[in-house]
Amino acid sequence: MHAVSHRFTPDDMAVIAAALAVAGLDTIEVGHGDGMGGSSYQYGFAAATDVEYLRAVKSVLTKTKLAVLLLPGIGTHRDLEKAAKYGADTVRIATHVTEADIAAQHVQIAKSLGMEAICFLMMAHMAPTAKVVEQARLFDSYGADVVYVTDSAGALLPHQVGERIAAVKEAVSVPVGFHAHNNLGLAVGNTLAAVAAGASSVDGCLCGLGAAAGNAQTEILAAVFDRMGIHTGIDLYKVMDAAEDVVQPRMHRPQIVGKLGLTTGWAGVYGSFMLHATRAGDKYGIDPRDILVELGRLKTVGGQEDLIIDVASRFAREAGDSGKHLLQRI
């Protein structure tokens, strides 16, 4: 929901989920873009509560698994319990690529609640493969059902995806997944590189509707996998219809690789920073690209949206100061 500033209503979600279910998708993740408990000043307030979204979507699903996202440090065990209570089958637990150990308790709680636990190593471009492997092993040891390499910044190149996936696949006892962003225009290509290297779960969004330049487009993945002879169980016409007839009318802007999405990927910055940087750029009169590049230089991680204001206000101050110097010289 990053791309719509978390403003989908429970009805929007139910309609989209129903279309996806008809198209034959395996698992549908719903909720705030920063997961359960993500509705906030820091990340933007959602149009409804986590429970309202879950209820609405659960009511239209029969076979399709319902998933939620949980970022430890934002959401807590209480959110997990809530998700289980309202029918979530799966939780995707995401940490920064070097911080898997903060999720140990959540994986264990999810398992004790009978949920499938899919563990995400976010911002996987920021750590060398050996580190990604070490952290994937941790998730495996906590009881993860699937371990994901997550390219949250859309910064990985296909060979880097392949290298990470192959190494993780080799190291863990569970299936491996990949989550792409399209900031460098590589979401579909990277997803294919991941599958070639052994990933068996991949993520997509209808119309690619996701943070920054979005994710891999589900409808394109369905068509490409079909051409490759990979069986996904997705009905191609129905998933195209879902994208074009259901999601597209609800989008705030076309999901393209614009200059800000491209900068996000090039600078290696968490995808959801893009819209926040745009707003801060407007407010302080700064080119949002400068903000994004600085956030990359500062090695920010997912969730540090507050730093955007800090950087923008610093740039504005500096610009003001140099403006004054100029005047004095004149």
Binding site: S40, T76, R78, I309
Partner: protein, 298 residues
């Protein structure tokens, strides 16, 4: 001037940082004993080098020493839950640096006066110590409908205890933002960042306020509060704001550690030990002044 004798239970990072702080600026408090349970601990060796008594009997050696009036609990919530009633029975004041919360949350700049006669003081969390004063300052000017805090710590400064139970941090901090900070609702987020060199502890506070037009007074009040906290946490500073953005006031505070034992980027640990010492100093001052036999005059 007479000083009240204290002990540290738990010679880990927090315990050691506290030891050096007591050595360098204890006025009413002095350290007598550092106690642990692990033979060969580096902390106990350091304590001995600095001339303090040490013990491997954990809480028992502290309870057995009637001279010790103040105990700094630097163990775990579980240990403190077991120890707290025994300290009280033995007439010792407990400064609790664990998340046990047996006693009230204490944020010295905000509510120490109201609890100073107590026997058990909980230090909340690092994020709580850094942000609750700011929320309270805003709330003193205009009612805070909702306060949200985001604490960003360097990965290196987040120890295994914090990592294994990160929900404890968010829940306790959000709780203190309401119960001590005065916000009607509270939320807390914690983020760990592994960047090298490690970043300083940073805390962003967002307050939804009833009267945003009072921003000038909010600024003045927050400024005063930051000075107040700085008196016991020297590396505490306002980095941004208060700044009005729609219906919210944004502030950022940063904590640079003193580097007494832990590195400067461990501002999150520094603020807890500095707060614990400040609390103990106030409590000790009260005890020393209220009971004549403690003044050493009799």
């Amino acid at each position: 001037m007479r000083k009240l004798k204290s002990a540290i239970l738990g010679p880990g990072n927090i315990g050691m940082d506290l030891m050096y702080k007591i050595m360098s600026r204890g006025k009413n408090i002095e350290l007598k004993l550092v106690s642990g349970i692990v033979a060969g601990s580096r902390g106990l060796a350091l304590a001995r080098e600095n001339g303090f008594e040490t013990s491997l009997d954990g809480v028992e050696s502290i309870l057995a020493d009637p001279e010790i009036r103040v105990v700094f609990e630097c163990t775990s919530a579980k240990a403190h839950l077991a120890n707290a009633p025994r300290y009280e029975e033995a007439g010792k004041v407990a400064i609790d640096l664990t998340p046990a919360a047996v006693g009230p949350y204490v944020v010295p700049a905000v509510n120490l006066e109201q609890h100073v006669g107590g026997v058990n003081f909980n230090m909340v969390t690092c994020g709580g110590q850094a942000t609750v004063p700011v929320v309270a300052a805003v709330n003193a000017v205009t009612p805070v409908e909702y306060a949200e805090i985001v604490a960003t710590l360097s990965s290196k400064s987040a120890g295994p205890g914090t990592r294994a139970n990160i929900d404890e941090f968010t829940e306790t901090t959000a709780d203190a933002v309401v119960s001590v900070g005065g916000a009607k609702k509270g939320k807390a987020v914690i983020i760990l960042n592994p960047a090298e060199p490690p970043l300083l502890m940073r805390n962003t506070v967002y307050c939804k306020v009833q009267n945003p037009e009072r921003i000038a007074r909010i600024s003045a009040q927050v400024g005063l509060m930051v000075e107040k906290v700085k008196q016991y946490v020297p590396g505490y500073r306002l980095r941004l704001g208060p700044e009005l953005d729609g219906d919210r006031v944004i502030m950022m505070v940063e904590v640079e550690g003193e580097g007494s034992y832990l590195p400067k980027y461990s501002g999150n640990l520094d603020i807890i030990t500095a707060t614990a010492l400040a609390t103990a100093e106030e409590v000790a001052a009260r005890i020393l002044h209220s009971c004549p036999q403690n003044r050493g005059e009799w």
